[in-house]
Each structure stands twice: as C-alpha cells, then as structure tokens.
Amino acid sequence: MKILVPVKQVASLDEDFVLGEDGAVSSQDLDWQLNEWDSFSLEAALQLNEGEDGEVVAVTVGDEQVEQNLRSCLAKGADRAIRVWDDSLRGADALAIASVLAAVARSEQPDLVLCGVQSSDAVESATGVALAGLLDLAHVAVVTGIERAGERLTVQRELEGGVVELLGVSLPCLLTVQTGINEPRYASLRAIKQASAKPLDVSSLADVGLDAGTVAAHAGSHTTQLHEPTLTAGATMIEGGTAEIAARIAEIVKGAMSA
C-alpha cells in the first residue's frame, strides 16, 4: 500500500517576540519544528505498512530548512520524501497548500493519504480535508483509530465530548489523524544521518505543474494585519512570591465558592 503523509514544519513564537512595524513577525523570533500531529500520522502510516510491501512517502511544502524534518521522517522509516517549494508560498493558507499537495498526490497516486488533524501554529484543521476535496477522495476527519482489512478500513472518529463514531471507509481515501492514536517513534540522530541515503526529491511549483498564480487563486483568505490580542478579557495578574500567589488563589477560590 502506498501511503502519502503530508507533514508541516510549524513555527512557535519566542516568548519575547517583537512585532515589526509592518505587523510582520521576525524570523529571528520563530522556532521551527515538526508539527506534533504529523508525527502521529507518520507513525500511523508506518504501522499500517509494517511487514507489508508498501511505500510511505512524506511530502511537505516548505523551504530548505524543512529538510531536517523530512530526514527525521525518513529516519523513522518513510521510504521517500518530497519537498515542494516556491518563495511565493511563504505564509500560504491551508487551501493554497492543499492545492500544491493535490498536484503531488495526482502524480503519486497513493492508496491512502494520512494528514495530521491540524497544525499547532495555525490551527486551521483544513489542509487534509481540503486536499481530499480537490482529489475527490473519500475522507474522515479527526481519526483516533485505524484498522485495515484488505481494501476496507474501520476507523474511529472522535467527536466532541469523547464520543467515538466507528465507521467503515474504502481505499483509496484520506484520513486526518488525531494525537494519541499511537506512540510516535524516536528518530535517533544516527538514523537521521543514515537516512541521508534515502531519496529526498525537491520540486519547484513548475515541476508539479503549477504556478504561483494558480496557487494564490486557491487561497481562502488574505491576512491584512497581525496584531497582539487586545487584553479586554485578560486576566488580573497576581504578583509576588509563590506563597503570596497561593494565598491569593486560596482567597479567590474560597470567595467564588461561597458566592
């Protein structure tokens, strides 16, 4: 079974970031890492293919510095990796990214696409299902369990309040995978170095048959401005040492409980 696993490198904002005058975030203030959800989807793919004559292909839309993350996917057991990039893609939203991934998926023809439910920085939760839409693939979002019997998958969909829906879906399809579905494996640094022997294909937009304009047309929104949240609903901060903080908390709790 060929499984395509789109992964993303997410940015976390440093504690004391400074917004530029143009409202832009300085790359200095960003820390990059593999999206937590994607380590679960990759693990799910690796487990599904364990002992099978299949292929797990990791794909990402990102610049050079993402390669380290792709190497770690390869080190964990992905067979190939694909990176697509064009500078026009910086800051692209879920739908634009989905259109690029769709181009890759059309040439790869996977039996299964496993995405993370969401990314921890943008929390759009949209790339996977948008990709399924573009490919016209059957899909299930927020999956917490996958069992396979031939061409048929039985999956668990996690609903609000912890209710779980069990449903059947046939390959080919796309699932977005929730955290906790498995225990992602560790990629040792030696394994990552050794994985440099595995194929990592770098493509431009043109290589996958797209151009900047087409991708931009897919974008769902345009960011006009970034700003810090206004603290209208912000908390009253309790200052002082731990003992004072605890005393004040005790007071607040007792007050609110007796109210």
């Binding site: 940015a11 929390v123 912890g162 906790g180 401005q225």
Partner: protein, 319 residues
C-alpha cells in the same frame, strides 16, 4: 445574490449549542449589511430543530433531509455545495466542530470559496467580510479579508460568539436534494466515552492540570491536592493521551465542556481545543510559567509561576 447561510448542527436528536452562536454571529453581520440570514438544517431529522433555530433575525429556515440518519461528511458536503450553487450566498457560517471539519474545507477548496476556520470575530463592511483568527498558536491575532471571493465560508469557534436570542418568524422551506449514493463512509456505531467514577461536568470546583505535569507521579500528588481543596481533578488532552489520567476527566473539544463555579488551571497553556471546553466557567484562575500562555486571555485571575511550587503552597493554604 447575497445573504448569509448558517449551517445548523445536531447530533443524537439535539441541536448543538454552537448553532445558536452561528445564528447570533450571522444576525450581527446581517445587520452590518451582509444580507438576510438563512439557516440550513442538513439532517434526516432536520424538521425537529426548526423551532429552535427560528430566532430573531432569521429570515428563512431550509430543511434539507438526508437519506441516512447519521451525519455523513460527504452527504453534507454535497448538500452544502448544492445549496451554495442554488443560493450563491455571500457568507456561509458553520461551527469549527468535528463534523464541519469533515466537509467544510473540501467544499471551500472545490468551490474556490473564501475560507477561514477557527474564526473568533467576523464583521461586514464596505470591503465585504472581514474575519479574525488566532495565529502562531494564538499568540497573535490575524485580521483577514477575502478579496475576489463571491462566497466566503467561515468556521466559527464555539464559544466565541454570543448565541442568538428571541424567537423569529422565519419562513420554512423544504429543499429536496438528490443525495442518494453520496455517502462514502458507512456508519457502524457511536460509542460513549468511559463514564469513569466522576462527572466533571457536575463539579462546582475543578482543579485542572495540563502539559506542565511531567510524570505520572505528579498526577497523584495533584489529585491529593484537589481532594484537600475540595476540588475535582480534571485535565487537558496531553495527560489523557499519556494515559496518566482517565479520559472521563478530560476538558476540551474532545473531552467535556464544563461550567464550574471555579476553574483553577495549573500548567495549562490553553490551546484552543481546551479553551472551548472551559471558557464558560464562572471564575477562571490560571497558573502558568509562560506569561504569554493563551489561557491568561480567558482567565479572570492569572499568575506566572511554577505550578508545583504553587501547588505545594496551596497544600499549606488548605491544611
């Protein structure tokens, strides 16, 4: 055409509360000039909910019956695509909920719609629709617009908008769409979460713990603290994923939604999925070592401190 279509959401015979929040938001942008509000109910038992969504400001309720009794993402997707095709609304509002996540992004991508998810603010002005959502893990707010988009589909974060009030005088229309054969998944069963020994939704005082907890032993310590304080212990998702705490105690989108008198959050940074489940608590007190933690945005009281040091002091306070 113009106007706002709101997608009501129901499960197991009950209208989900987010539906009323969507109507509230729709009414607000409608009053700003976005056009009339239409509520679409796509469900086998759609009729059942008509009265509940017939709120002030709703002009029309569309009843769209589906062939299968349960929600099925591909069927709803087809229905929504057909409605958009027929009505060409300026705005479609749905909840940022698990069900919507299963079809809305596909509808937007296929239809070339404007789209934003996890939206916390929306308004209509001269340039059309504008929306707000979090960025960089909620540390920043992004202001969005949707140039050149005829229709914009927004998924609104539950709890972020005031629910609609009053009763309306909407016309009711039944829309028969050809949805047979559109389902691509087969519903097998719904499983309720393990009930566990506690019902955190009934507790008045929750001591809730999160990622700040580093190992299982600490959970036991905090459980003792909760007992001493007269609180019920609850947790955010990572601790449930780690298997350190019962799923019945999970607060958030995939856990329980709680409304206690006091919610004391220790070491919870406040990911969106968590905030959804607890932002309605009466008094929220948060302790976190990161002063930028989003939970301070919903808490009334906050302290930047080591959760375990505070916990140790609290033990003394409640001796």
């Amino acid at each position: 055409m113009s106007g706002v279509i709101v997608l009501g959401e129901a499960r197991r015979g009950e209208l989900r509360p987010v539906s009323l929040e969507l109507i509230g938001a729709a009414r607000a942008i409608s009053e700003q000039g976005a056009g009339p509000v239409t509520v679409a109910l796509i469900a086998a038992d759609a009729e059942t909910y008509v009265e509940q969504v017939n709120r002030l400001g709703v002009q029309e309720v569309l009843v769209v019956p589906t062939p299968q009794p349960q929600f099925e993402a591909h069927v709803t997707q087809a229905a929504l695509e057909a409605l958009i095709e027929q009505r060409r609304p300026s705005v479609v509002l749905a909840g940022h909920t698990i069900d919507s996540l299963g079809f809305a992004p596909a509808v937007a991508a296929r239809g070339g719609l404007g789209f934003a998810s996890n939206v916390t603010g929306a308004s209509w002005g001269e340039q059309g629709l504008r929306a707000q959502r979090g960025a960089y893990g909620e540390k920043l707010i992004a202001e969005l617009d949707f140039p050149d988009k005829q229709t914009v589909l927004l998924l609104l974060r539950p709890g972020a908008f005031a629910p609609a009030e009053g009763s309306g005088s909407a016309s009711i229309e039944r829309v028969e769409l050809d949805l047979a054969g559109r389902a691509r998944t087969e519903h097998l069963e719904l499983r309720d979460p393990p009930t566990g020994d506690v019902d955190i939704t009934k507790a008045d005082f929750l001591l809730s713990i999160g990622r700040g907890v580093e190992d299982e032993d600490q959970v036991a310590e905090l459980e003792r603290l909760a007992e001493r304080m007269g609180a019920t212990l609850s947790a955010s998702r990572p601790l449930v994923d780690a298997g350190w705490i019962d799923a019945a105690r999970q607060v958030g989108q995939s856990g329980k939604t709680v409304t206690p008198k006091v919610y004391l959050a220790l070491g919870i940074s406040g990911a969106v999925q968590h905030l959804v489940g607890m932002s309605k608590a009466q008094t929220i007190v948060a302790v976190n070592s990161d002063h930028e933690a989003p939970i301070f945005g919903v808490a009334q009281f906050g302290a930047v401190a080591d959760m375990f040091e505070v916990a140790a002091e609290l033990e003394r306070q409640f001796e």
